[in-house]
Symmetry: C2
Subunit: 135 residues, 2 copies
């Protein structure tokens, strides 16, 4: 049985340093990770916001999905991530239930966590990430 917990909300922004003052200085969140993920063509920051996090993502690859999102929709909410205890079991359960998975197998995401994305078509219209935060 999956027990999904809100893990983070992610925003796509054109400029992380321009977005940071709102979240860090005005809203009082704390930067925990800042990382360039060259293989995914993004730079990302994770800020602690209570028991969950806010992620800011900037495209580095002008041809990538994040750059396309920014060009067509502008900066704003990109996805929601839910923590689960066992991501492989959760993915198997969702696949068996007929959900469309973008990542059929977990991969390494920001901060070294195992992550996988579910297609918005199978997730109430919102790009949805699972994150394994234990083990």
């Amino acid at each position: 049985v999956i027990r999904a917990r809100v893990h983070h909300v992610a925003y796509v922004v054109p400029d992380i340093d321009a977005a940071l003052p709102e979240f860090r200085d005005r809203l009082g969140m704390t930067i925990e990770i800042r990382e360039t993920m060259a293989d995914q063509g993004v730079e990302a920051v994770m800020l602690r916001a209570g028991d969950a996090w806010v992620e800011l993502i900037r495209p580095l690859d002008p041809e990538g999905a994040i750059a396309r999102f920014l060009a067509t929709r502008g900066q704003g909410l990109h996805h929601v991530a839910y923590a689960v205890d066992d991501i492989a079991a959760a993915l198997a359960e969702l696949r068996d239930a007929g959900l469309e998975l973008i990542d059929p197998e977990p991969r390494i995401g920001l901060g070294g966590h195992l992550v996988a994305f579910v297609h918005p078509r199978s997730a109430t219209g919102a790009l949805t990430e699972l994150v394994q935060d234990h083990g």
Copy 2:
């Protein structure tokens, strides 16, 4: 100083009962509140998801902002809410910093909390809610 904590993520859906199985049965969240807010023209559900919540919102008023959102963008992520200790102080601080507030004063939201919305133009492109969860 504001210490904002992720409180909930809200989805607009055309049919709450059709959306509930994903969140309740598949992802293992627990319904805490189901309420019709006639003055706002919506029905809403809050599901507990770890230390934060997921809100599902259905328009009751076909002329309202939520119905327009659904008609133009389809179901999906609508806003993110951050908990603060003192919403009146937080609103004053954000107003003084030049942010565009949709609610210049707190009002009563789902579950009886004091809430106020910040315009996406002043919040990294995302409709943003503040919720006072203490006091």
